[in-house]
Point group: C2
């Protein structure tokens, strides 16, 4: 009977090449915080001042980044890139012990796709989630194993994008 | 030359049958607020206590709902449904005069699809946007005219959803 109770939490996965993956995770975080729930946001492969970082830190909500300021070279990631991703994953495991209502693992799919983390070690983490904790994983290039593991999967599909026309990203809207 | 300066703001459209449209708009709102920008969220066809409503109102951010507590019958919307949608659209026009950085029009696509508003009156509003204002429109069933008008369009495509398995919506995660 115990197994029926385990893993009550949902795993939501947002992938695809379109805009809206990270922001959807952040919007869900706001929704949970609105109900007074404990939320932890962990961003992989990012180290940047963004609107969301400013917002979360200003209000004292938990928000952490594990990455460098440079883009990761997928074909040739550095040891530093790998080390930071491992630190992020280990930090996520530690945070799970605090049994948050929601743990956001932003860009985790990309960290796997860039070979900073193996899908096996991520699946291992996902098989040890407190029953009260929901997980949101974002990022392009989601592995089939994670799609299979998730309860909900949305593909954010790009239909039209202004960057296609060479327009720059806008502060407060795109980051 | 003046026309080149007009309509600098972006119109982002989130549509499709998958989860993540409203939350992506809310996450973008947080991003903008993080930079100290003025944001206005208007929800059509909704009147409900949700995590996002609690959150925005607690922090004093602008958040408005124009709808009833009942679901709208698409085949037979009531006069009240139509009246509230019109009020929402008029309210949006008034708010545009305050030149917010971001105006979210949540579920506006659905209000058009349910014949509460015409696509023409929405396009008319969108042709009178202050140049400093960005717009996010969400909801399934986006009309082609709005897709054509938008600068960015993401289709949130449902790959897998727990409601398919009869699982209920979760407070703080799904509303």
């Amino acid at each position: 009977m115990y197994n029926l109770v385990m893993q009550m939490g949902m795993i939501y996965l947002f992938t695809g090449n379109g805009k809206g993956k990270t922001t959807s995770a952040l919007g869900t975080a706001i929704r949970a915080i609105g109900y007074g729930k404990k939320v932890v946001v962990i961003q992989f492969m990012k180290k940047r001042e963004t609107g969301e970082k400013k917002f979360f830190q200003k209000h004292g909500y938990e928000f952490y980044q594990f990455g460098t300021e440079k883009f990761v070279d997928f074909k040739n990631p550095t040891e530093k890139d790998k080390q930071l991703a491992k630190e992020g994953l280990n930090f996520a495991k530690e945070k799970l012990k605090e049994k948050p209502f929601l743990l956001v693992l932003d860009e985790l799919n990309v960290a796997i796709a860039a070979n900073l983390l193996s899908v096996e070690e991520v699946l291992e983490m996902l098989s040890n989630i407190p029953e009260e904790t929901h997980i949101i994983i974002t990022g392009r290039y989601a592995k089939q194993e994670l799609i299979d593991k998730a309860d909900l999967v949305t593909e954010m599909k790009e239909i039209k994008h202004p960057f296609q026309k060479g327009k720059p990203a806008i502060e407060g809207l795109d980051f």
